[in-house]
């Protein structure tokens, strides 16, 4: 694993997440994700690359809401990758993330079925950006047309930019230099992003927490998203 120059990792502290959905909005804005609209969302076609999964715990009146931000887990051993017949999704050896090539996708949706996190989003229709959303499209990112699968990329455009800047300045990428849109917008700092290969990085330190867990770890998908248990969970 350490042969790779970077091991981009996301830490999500569930203790800090308030379920405010700022990250969801930021993700839409950063990645040119269209808004599906009320009817489509009701059908189950919300386009969020990042969504806040809300689970209720207990019975009224002792009720607690638990929030789990959910997005592509950038699995090291991703189940979505081998099933694609046209290599539209593959594992990047450089960034160590799961890449989705929009132009190559033909829309078999096999990857989405095989994702245990149901993290992949399909373009059911051509995207629409009603006024004034069309004024703020991100030029670093393409707009995907109908019939194409997409998903969280760890804001790879920001990773690439930081890498290129660092290379131009002939130095390593500094910790904290790459911040995905969700992490940038989180008011409680629940998201921390960085390189796990750097033992001094914030992610590396947090990843050693005893609260750490990864989603559906038993499947052996090796996600690059690490959660920190929240609430009154026993952290012994």
């Amino acid at each position: 694993m350490s042969e790779q120059p970077h091991r981009w990792t996301m830490i999500i502290d569930l203790d800090r997440c308030t379920g405010c959905q700022a990250c969801v909005v930021a993700c839409h804005a950063e990645n040119n994700v269209p808004v599906a609209g009320e009817d489509e969302v009701r059908l189950g076609r919300a386009m969020h690359w990042l969504r806040i999964e809300r689970y209720w715990e207990g019975e009224y009146p002792n009720l607690k809401a638990r929030f789990v931000p959910m997005m592509c887990q950038q699995c090291e051993n991703a189940p979505c990758e081998p099933v694609c017949p046209v290599f539209a999704t593959y594992h990047s050896e450089v960034e160590n993330v799961n890449i989705q090539v929009y132009n190559r996708c033909i829309g078999t949706r096999y990857c989405a079925n095989n994702c245990p996190y149901i993290a992949r989003i399909f373009n059911w229709f051509d995207p629409e950006f009603p006024e004034p959303l069309n004024e703020q499209l991100n030029p670093d990112i393409s707009v995907r047309r109908r019939g194409i699968m997409e998903k969280c990329t760890f804001c790879i455009q920001r990773i690439r930019r930081a890498e290129e800047t660092a290379e131009a300045e002939q130095r390593e990428v500094r910790d904290g230099e790459v911040t995905p849109a969700c992490a940038q917008s989180c008011p409680t700092d629940a998201f921390v992003f960085g390189d796990l290969n750097d033992p001094e990085s914030r992610v590396a330190k947090l990843a050693r927490s005893r609260r750490r867990f990864r989603l559906l770890e038993e499947l052996g998908t090796e996600p690059a998203v690490i959660y920190l248990k929240g609430g009154d969970a026993y952290v012994g």
Partner: protein, 475 residues
């Protein structure tokens, strides 16, 4: 008719074997040829009406609805997160299943020299080819960007793209193409002598057509020798291909990590289900063909009797696999697996699931042991139609039902097909019937030479007052 002994009243009342068995009831070659040529050329008002209605349905479904879907987006179908695959994939699996009819009836029965196969091979081989054509459309209909389907074809190109052979979809595509080519050749080879017969007995455009299709067949000994060898090779070779096709279709599901899909039994389970559904479809189609084309001489109760027995046997086999799959899931007790079983037992798909158990297990088991049911038109027709309804439900539940439940309960969902999916499904069913109806008027639906070969090999001899069938071993 029964032969009654007039002198000694003790003698058993015996059925005339000539009435029962096609192979013991030989007719002169001319009469045989005449019967099939007449059936082939008879196109009444009903036929043309059916063809026009089917053609219209194809236009509405495959041009109208599919065109609308291509131009608007997959959103017009009912699929949604997390049910990314819907009716299209269920239809795909269903039609691949129907395509197992021809090969099973024709190749396996030919290899095992089951004599009852002789008049029914062609009719079922045609089903294989047409069902495969219909099935082959579905992966395209189902693609988000249909117009890019050729990216799955491995050929050197400027995009420097090569398909991913790790993907079960690629295995699928190759298996289906192999099967389509193999089964069409296997349909064509035994057809050549009959096409030559049709060439010699028709005039006009038909003769011109058959002259080309018959490839100059004259019926010399050398030609027969080559043909028999080729048919023999194909009959053996197509069987493993048939098994591979539905196994690979099942691997589209089995290779994933989805609970309910990820199962090593899916290969044989799907193959058995496909043969179950395919053989039932052979019965359904041939019953209708016998009625509409007046082929009572060739297709007799004995044949439907035999097919009915096969259907019953495959109902047993399917039930065994179904039970093995179900029990494993239930006993394993994994949380998602339990949810899937709950979904079937008293969830949204429960009515369908119980209907499947009734049409696939209860009805065949209660009826098909009975000779009278197997030999009656409506009895066998309804039972075999029911089996295919049940087998469709099975695929529908496996594809769309199982996708609604996942490991993370926040992402559970529901699925309902839309009118677009419905119209496309009707359009594809119409395509199958349309192709079958049109081609049944173009090529001899019963292999005359195979029937004659059987009739030559079987003779009735009179021993005392009894008629004893005697069989000459061929080959």
């Amino acid at each position: 008719m029964s032969v009654k002994a007039t002198t000694t009243p003790v003698l058993v009342v015996q059925e005339d074997p000539r009435e029962e068995h096609l192979l013991l009831d030989p007719r002169p070659t001319k009469e045989l040829n005449g019967m099939i040529l007449e059936a082939m050329q008879r196109t009444g008002k009903g036929f043309w009406l059916a063809v026009i209605i089917l053609g219209a349905l194809i236009l509405v479904g495959l041009v109208g609805a599919w065109g609308y879907q291509i131009l608007t987006g997959m959103g017009v179908a009912g699929i949604r997160r997390p049910v990314y695959w819907g009716v299209y994939i269920a239809n795909f699996v269903f039609w691949i299943g129907i395509s197992h009819s021809g090969t099973f009836v024709s190749a396996i029965l030919r290899v095992f020299k089951a004599e009852f196969r002789r008049p029914i091979t062609r009719g079922s081989e045609m089903m294989t080819s047409f069902a495969l054509i219909v099935a082959g459309m579905y992966p395209l209909i189902h693609l988000g960007r249909t117009w890019r389907f050729y990216w799955m074809v491995p050929y050197p190109n400027q995009r420097h793209l090569w398909p991913n052979f790790h993907s079960p979809l690629m295995w699928d595509m190759m298996a289906i193409f192999t099967y389509l080519i193999g089964s069409t050749l296997y349909l064509y080879l035994p057809l050549i002598p009959d096409l030559a017969m049709a060439r010699d007995n028709t005039t006009g455009w038909r003769q011109k057509l058959y002259r080309i299709l018959a490839l100059g067949w004259r019926g010399t000994e050398a030609e027969w020798h080559h043909l028999k060898t080729a048919i023999n090779i194909f009959a053996f070779a197509i069987i493993p291909v048939m098994f591979s096709v539905h196994t690979i279709v099942s691997w589209d599901f089995g290779m994933t990590m989805k609970t309910g899909w990820h199962s090593s039994i899916f290969g044989p389970y799907f193959v058995v289900g496909a043969i179950f559904s395919g053989v039932s479809a052979v019965a359904t189609v041939l019953l209708i063909v016998r009625r509409t084309m007046k082929l009572d001489y060739f297709l007799r109760p004995e044949h439907f009797d035999a097919i009915g027995k096969l259907v019953l046997v495959f109902s047993f086999a399917w039930t065994y696999f179904f039970f093995a799959d179900y029990l494993t899931e239930w006993y394993g007790g994994e949380a998602v697996g339990k949810e899937l079983l709950t979904l079937q037992a008293h969830g949204p798909v429960a009515p369908l699931w119980y209907a499947m158990l009734i049409t696939n297990i209860v009805i065949p088991w209660l009826t098909l042991w009975n000779r009278k049911v197997r030999r009656s038109f409506w009895g066998l027709l309804l039972v075999t139609l029911g089996v295919n309804v049940g087998m469709y439900i099975e695929r529908y539940i496996i594809v769309t039902g199982f996708l609604t439940r996942n490991r993370l309960p926040f992402d559970w969902g529901a699925y309902n097909p839309t009118w677009v999916e419905l119209l496309i499904s009707i359009g594809s069913l119409s395509t199958f019937i349309f192709l079958y109806a049109v081609v049944s008027r173009l090529i001899p639906l019963v292999p005359i030479w195979e029937v004659r070969e059987g009739q030559i090999a079987h003779t009735l001899r009179r021993v005392g007052r009894a008629l004893v069938p005697s069989v000459a071993e061929l080959e």
